[in-house]
């Protein structure tokens, strides 16, 4: 698409980046709250237990200890910490403090004290008597009759969907099209495999943290590292029984989120402490606390059965997913659904489909939103089967994908059948650059030179290349809402107020670019203020790849209204009609009279001269659809056949995210997601002992990639133009994390002829697979 833009499509400087680089920008814990109480938490040492008694006498006697909260003195309000819209599609199964402990890391009590030292000492001095209950660790047995039950009768799903705490069933999803049996009968061969993905952590470098204080009128102000300030306000209001009008939530700079900071689990705690003591309060989790007690990526078992004709036509596909949600049901339904809804439409010509999924409780850490959101887990299975189908039917994988993937003008029944906790929304694809992604990515990796060659690079070392394709969405259609308001200043600058939540992605910048483009001004003339529930209009927050597409469109609408007002005033000033006027770089010109006015002239006139008014507007946006971005990702790996070590040599991502508003920021999203995905594929894993205790809650043992681990990386933005998006944009935040796991597995097969069914691909695991298949070398 050759659209001409002024600001859109340019890699303008991220507006907060210099202040961040100088160390001036403030994160939650950087606000100096005078005399703040420090909160420390006592966690359950047992995976499943009942608290028989809590004795806080000694702890309260420690100097500086102000208050200790636990299930006996805090009302039990069941809620979900998922940080979603209302009503949430996640079970109300969580209390701030409960009598039952459901995982090692569950919350027993919290101490508010004058100093961190006193709070920590008090945590150690609390005496708790537990009655241990039989734990449930294996998701495969969670629904068995004799399995320990985690939640009682009172745990409820706030929306009418299948949920059965008595069977540890946190969610169930099933969709079916066509005739599965017939489809499998028509097949010449059937593939059936089971794939497992592991627990993983977001590892935002800023730990979870929240602070609170009472303002001069006694309202509760919460400063917090959140992706969802408005949901925080709503949830805190309900859990603490404080009116919404008395709560203000401010999101300052956030040190990364990736879904982890969608979870609302600290704000109610600082809120409780401050509301009940009148004192400012703060909490800053340690890294081990983040690993164990915050949220994780849900592990999944995916069994995929694919019926195929000899020419490669897939006649039937059945995906059976079992997701482990750990102790609480955060995002249990929607991550599971997403594993189908963002994945199955990609190969939309399959007529007979069944997706069946279950999410179960276990006495392990809690799953939550994480970039990729279920799709990353199921694409692992799908992309390997696609690779197998192409190989078994003797076709080039790239040509195969091109033939069968969804195209412009096409749809998939899955869009309508499967949404976020309810039915989805039918949609027709209006932009798809996947073919170009495939071609450009293939060229960049050297696909045709390397594929199937099993190049021996050194003794015992062999190379291969693999592909993964995926799509995601752009927000949740008909559910997610973003809004913006703007006002004009007499120098021709504008304040832009948005509820949208920049957690480091650069959304403040791209939203400013969208406003600047609409108003035909330099981006410096937009002053952005985001995510303060007192000052900015509502936005659901940063999740589901929604900000650019949903909030971006709200900003565009809002700026268009402002522009209209500007032209109205200018028309009056110039004695012309608004449609006779042209705008160019903050100057309005009337061609006929040759007269022109600057934005500054116009605003000054509107404010001070005649029929005075503030040029200002607001707008909201929901989207009737969720156009998918597409991506083709290629890995080149070198496998050491003696040790099982996989080294990724090169990783190429070619993505169609519509018109990128800011190419550098879009690339940054892809690069960040890829590297996160690479260490998810190769090294990141939760290790548990037999009691369900995580044994490696530190960066020393939970290995995330550093600069030294990087392969050669290439990111290609393939511009398409999404007509429903603001200036042609679709989303880009999540999609790129889907590729590393399947692309590496497919490259590994290309090199060795061995399939990998379980992540992460640690040398031990890979060595075992090579041994099983007799491919080890000495």
């Amino acid at each position: 698409m050759n659209k001409k833009f002024n600001t859109v499509g340019k890699s303008v400087r991220k507006i907060d980046s210099l202040s961040l680089a100088k160390g001036n920008a403030l994160f939650t814990d950087d606000f100096q709250l005078k005399d703040a109480l420090h909160i420390s938490i006592l966690y359950s040492p047992h995976a499943h237990a009942e608290i028989l008694s809590i004795d806080t006498t000694d702890a309260l006697a420690i100097p500086g200890v102000i208050r200790i909260f636990h299930h006996e003195n805090v009302p039990r309000v069941l809620h979900t910490t998922a940080g979603q819209g209302f009503p949430e599609p996640s079970a109300y199964d969580t209390a701030m403090f409960d009598k039952t402990m459901r995982f090692v890391g569950d919350r027993v009590a919290a101490v508010a004290a004058e100093t961190k030292e006193a709070a920590n000492a008090a945590v150690k001095a609390i005496k708790v008597e537990y009655r241990e209950l039989p734990p449930l660790f294996d998701p495969e047995t969670a629904m068995d009759k004799d399995a320990p039950q985690l939640h009682g009768e009172d745990a409820k799903m706030p929306i009418p969907v299948k949920y059965d705490a008595s069977r540890n069933l946190a969610a169930e999803v099933e969709i079916k099209f066509g005739d599965l049996d017939k489809g499998f009968q028509e097949a010449d061969f059937i593939l059936e495999d089971t794939f497992h993905t592991q627990y993983a952590a977001h590892c935002a470098i800023e730990p979870h943290t929240s602070a609170a204080y009472l303002d001069e009128r006694g309202r509760l102000v919460i400063i917090t590292a959140t992706q969802v300030p408005f949901h925080v306000r709503r949830i805190v209001s309900r859990v603490l029984d404080i009116p919404i009008r008395d709560i203000r939530v401010i999101k300052p700079r956030i040190g990364g989120g990736f879904g982890g900071k969608q979870e609302v689990f600290l704000e109610q705690l600082v809120g409780l402490s401050t509301w009940s003591t009148g004192r400012p309060s703060r909490i800053y989790l340690t890294r081990p606390e983040v690993f164990v007690s915050s949220r994780t990526r849900h592990p999944m078992r995916v069994t995929l059965k694919t019926g195929v004709k000899n020419d490669g036509e897939i006649t039937a596909l059945e995906m059976d997913a079992l997701m482990n949600n750990g102790a609480y049901g955060s995002h249990a339904l929607t991550v599971l659904s997403n594993g189908g809804s963002k994945v199955l439409p990609l190969f939309n010509k399959i007529k007979n489909i069944r997706f069946i999924g279950h999410t179960v409780y276990t006495n392990l850490p809690v799953g939550g939103a994480y970039r990729g959101y279920g799709a990353s887990q199921t694409y692992f299975a799908l992309n390997q089967h696609i690779d197998m189908v192409a190989r078994k039917t003797g076709q080039d994988l790239i040509s195969f994908v091109k033939k069968w993937h969804i195209k412009v003008g096409e749809t998939s029944p899955v869009f309508q059948a499967l949404g976020e906790g309810k039915e989805g929304v039918a949609q027709i694809i209006k932009s798809c650059g996947l073919d170009e992604c495939l071609d450009k990515g293939a060229a960049a990796i050297g696909w045709y030179e390397k594929r199937g060659k099993r190049i021996k690079s050194a003794p015992g070392k062999v190379r291969g290349v693999g592909l993964s394709v995926s799509m995601q969405g752009s927000g949740i259609p008909k559910i997610d809402m973003g809004s913006a308001s703007m006002k004009m200043n007499e120098d021709g600058s504008f304040n832009l107020y948005i509820g949208a939540t920049d957690l480091g992605t650069g959304s403040d910048t791209i939203l400013a670019q969208i406003a600047a483009e609409t108003l035909d001004i330099p981006v410096e003339n937009i002053i952005v203020l985001s995510s303060d529930t007192d000052l900015t209009p509502f936005d659901v927050g940063a999740y589901a790849s929604s900000t650019t597409y949903i909030s971006g469109a709200a900003v565009k609408k809002c700026a268009a209204k402002v522009r209209e007002q500007i032209l109205g005033v200018a028309a009056k000033m110039l004695n012309a009609k608004p449609d006779e006027l042209k705008v160019n770089e903050s100057v309005v010109t009337h061609a006929e009279s040759g007269k022109s006015l600057t934005y500054a002239d116009i605003c000054t006139y509107a404010m001070y001269s005649n029929d005075q008014f503030q040029i200002q507007a607001s707008a909201s946006n929901i989207a009737p659809e969720s156009p998918p971005p597409f991506i083709a990702q290629f890995a080149e790996v070198e496998v050491d056949l003696r040790t099982g070590k996989i080294r990724v040599l090169k990783f190429v991502s070619a993505v169609d995210c519509g018109q990128p508003i800011n190419p550098a920021l879009a690339e940054g999203q892809v690069e960040g997601a890829v590297v996160n995905g690479l260490s998810y594929a190769l090294t990141e894993d939760y290790l548990f002992d037999s009691k369900g205790r995580m044994t490696n809650p530190r960066f020393w043992d939970f290995k995330i990639f550093t600069t030294k681990d990087l392969p050669e990386m290439e990111t290609i933005l393939v511009n398409s133009y999404e007509e429903t998006g603001p200036y042609g944009a679709k989303s880009v935040g999540e999609i790129a994390i889907n590729g590393p796991i399947p692309a590496i597995a497919n490259a590994f097969f290309d090199a060795t002829g061995v399939r990998l069914y379980e992540t992460p691909y640690t040398p031990e695991r890979v060595w075992k697979r090579l041994k099983e298949e007799n491919r080890l070398e000495n």
Binding site: K14, A21, G23, A664, E671, N676, I704, T706, T707
Partner: protein
């Protein structure tokens, strides 16, 4: 306990408890540009120059830093730091920015020693600084850009 430090060329007297790390002392005294990501010596968000040497301030007991000279990202020599900071901005190497003060300091220390590092050397030098947002690609580009700009000015 009490000690005097010189932080960013200014004398500061601080109080601390025996278990405090240098990181705590700095943050408690308003040097919030020094970040805490792990307290475990693994993430590099807390780095400072301690008597000119790059260290993780969470790994230094406050008591052992008596009378030391500490430089945070805000106290670097402006003419050397500014090109690095500008390069990070221009290269798109700042996402959430939580790692950035540490990255800038690590880059500063690297370029002091080696004004024209190659990619491998950059990867080596920044190995102790975790970033979860950027995938490091643009950070490495930023270091290269900073080196080029600094060298062409000299």
């Amino acid at each position: 306990m009490k000690t005097k430090l010189t932080v960013n060329n200014k004398p500061v007297s601080v109080q601390f408890s025996p278990t405090d790390r240098l990181l705590d002392v700095l943050r408690n005294n308003g040097f919030s540009e020094v970040k805490e990501g792990c307290r475990d010596g693994e993430c590099g968000a807390c780095v400072v120059l301690l008597n000119g040497k790059l260290v993780n301030s969470c790994q230094v007991l406050a008591a052992s830093a008596m009378d030391a000279t500490v430089t945070t990202v805000k106290g670097l020599e402006k003419d050397k730091a500014a090109p690095i900071q500008e390069a990070f901005v221009d290269a798109g190497a700042v996402q959430c920015g939580f790692c950035t003060p540490g990255m800038v300091l690590a880059t500063y220390a690297l370029l002091q020693e080696n004004p024209a590092p190659d990619t491998r050397q950059i990867q080596q030098a920044l190995d102790g600084n975790l970033c979860r947002c950027t995938g490091y690609v643009k950070i490495i580009e930023a270091v290269q850009l900073a080196a080029e700009r600094t060298n062409s000015h000299e």
